[in-house]
């Protein structure tokens, strides 16, 4: 491979990383807003948040991307630059999965903790901010770590729309070299390294968040069996 082609690959890596960061941020916001809304005491709020989750989890991320690229501009006149279109489609879709993680972790906090908060006259918002979230967030990290890797893999989908991410630059190099094995192996390895870094980073974060609360890091086999349902592209059963 020539240095020009390597440059192409590196540009692709940069686009993938940008897209990953932006859609992860949007996805995190969606996860927490929708996830918290699903534990709201008003049924209508819970219902609407539930509809959001079912709809965005029900559809395919790639179909969502097509929709944002082709239908939004025609139907609503929103012509988004590719990075934002990708961010929107991925953030909304993966945020729906994330909302399940947030809801599950909030519901897993001992109800007695909520009662402790009531007995001290905290408002619902104070209970959420001071008691529930600080206890729930460390539990969310392992499933969120899995979801982040799923999101990384999902970013490759924008290459189908012609956005110059890592997968797309792989295709360009294949066309230039008329040879596939080497470039796709390199591309896959780069994705693997990024995923590895993300997983390690999240594990460090989990350790940091759990420090002092006396909770173990890592799950039991039983939790392991539940995990697919709350993470990634897995669960559809509420």
């Amino acid at each position: 491979m020539t240095s020009g082609l390597w440059e192409l690959v590196l540009k692709g890596v940069w686009v993938t990383v940008q897209l990953l960061v932006c859609s992860a941020l949007l996805g995190a916001v969606v996860s927490f807003v929708v996830g918290v809304a699903r534990t709201h005491r008003l049924w209508i709020v819970r219902f609407l948040a539930g509809v959001y989750t079912e709809v965005f989890r029900g559809t395919s991320a790639l179909v969502m991307i097509f929709w944002v690229y082709f239908v939004l501009p025609v139907a609503f006149g929103w012509q988004l630059v590719p990075l934002w279109a990708g961010t929107l489609a991925l953030g909304l879709t993966y945020g729906a999965y994330g909302s399940e993680i947030v809801r599950g972790a909030l519901n897993a906090v001992d109800p007695a903790q909520k009662e402790g908060g009531i007995a001290l006259s905290f408002t619902p918002w104070q209970r959420l901010r001071l008691i529930l979230l600080p206890q729930a967030v460390p539990e969310m990290i392992p499933p969120f770590s899995n979801l982040l890797v799923e999101l990384l893999k999902g970013t490759a989908l924008v290459s189908i729309m012609g956005m110059g991410d890592l997968a797309f630059s792989g295709n360009l190099v294949r066309l230039a070299l008329q040879e596939s094995a080497e470039i796709y192996t390199i591309v896959l390895l780069i994705y693997f390294v990024i995923a590895f870094v993300l997983t390690r980073g999240m594990r460090g974060l989990e350790r940091k968040l759990k420090a002092g609360t006396g909770k173990p890091v890592g799950g039991t086999p039983d939790q392991e069996l539940d995990r697919p349902q709350t993470t990634g592209v897995g669960g559809a059963v509420a």
Partner: protein, 265 residues
């Protein structure tokens, strides 16, 4: 530690002119059902300010339910509950929170917040709910921790403490809100036997040296005898007998009460 140096949350009635006297809590015709099981059956009773009332009776007789109703952790199916002149159910969220500020509760399972240090468990609510300055809250919290004998545990997390220590922190946390009423829900039931005495000593101190109204559900009959002004005997969601501790423990009127006491004493 001599009693007169206790940093009491509200010892002197003179210093708390807004502190009520006379009837503080009133339950009228309160009924609570869980499914088809009637836990409280048209219950009436009231508690005067400053009194220490102990609720005894077999488990499932509705004692804990009363505390949880007063703390607004549960809603009654029928009847009215009034605390310091304010009716609960129905009441606005804001009114309910105002009432909650007057009531502290210590739970069987402590319910300390594991994500906070011991000190912050105690200071968080005074700062965020009562708007106390952080410095003042910390100073008072340290005084309270001193009182419960855990001055050196400020920076520990609850998971690092024994059950008895956690429960003493929970008592300090409740007192930090300067409640008029303290609800004690089987506070020693989850403790290893050797840790019970330390917790009860703290509570005896509080009963002796403050004017806080106490409602106490307990199986510790000696403790109940020591601190109570009045003992209520519950059975099947009703108060079947009430009176001074001397009378209830030495000379109860009903066989049912006698049976129960001989089983637990």
């Amino acid at each position: 530690m001599p009693t007169d140096t206790l940093p009491n949350p509200g010892t002197n009635p003179e210093k708390n002119p807004d502190r009520s006297t006379g009837e503080l809590i009133r339950l009228e015709q309160v009924t609570k059902q869980f499914g088809s099981n009637t836990v409280l059956d048209h219950l009436d009773f009231s508690v005067d300010a400053g009194k220490h009332v102990t609720l005894i009776g077999p488990s499932g007789s509705g004692k804990t339910t009363i505390l949880r109703l007063l703390m607004t952790l549960l809603k009654p199916d029928e009847g009215t509950i009034t605390v310091d002149g304010q009716q609960l159910f129905p009441a606005s969220d804001k009114q309910v929170r105002e009432v909650r500020k007057k009531i502290g509760m210590v739970f069987q399972q402590f319910n300390l917040f594991p994500n906070m240090t011991v000190l912050r468990n105690i200071t968080e609510a005074p700062v965020t709910v009562l708007g106390m300055s952080k410095d003042e809250a910390v100073e008072r919290a340290k005084g309270l921790l001193d009182m419960v004998g855990l001055a050196d545990k400020c920076d520990a997390h609850p998971a690092q403490l024994s059950g008895g220590q956690q429960q003493r922190v929970a008592i300090a946390r409740a007192l930090a809100m300067r409640p008029q009423v303290l609800l004690l829900d089987e506070v020693t039931s989850a403790l290893d036997p050797e840790l019970v005495a330390g917790v009860l000593d703290v509570l005896r101190d509080i009963a002796r040296s403050t004017d806080i109204t106490m409602l106490c559900v307990t199986h510790e009959m000696n403790f109940a005898r020591d601190i109570s002004d009045q003992v209520l005997m519950f059975d099947s969601g009703r108060i079947i007998e009430s009176g001074s501790p001397e009378k209830i423990f030495s000379d109860p009127e009903l066989d049912r009460t006698r049976e129960f006491l001989s089983a637990v004493l």
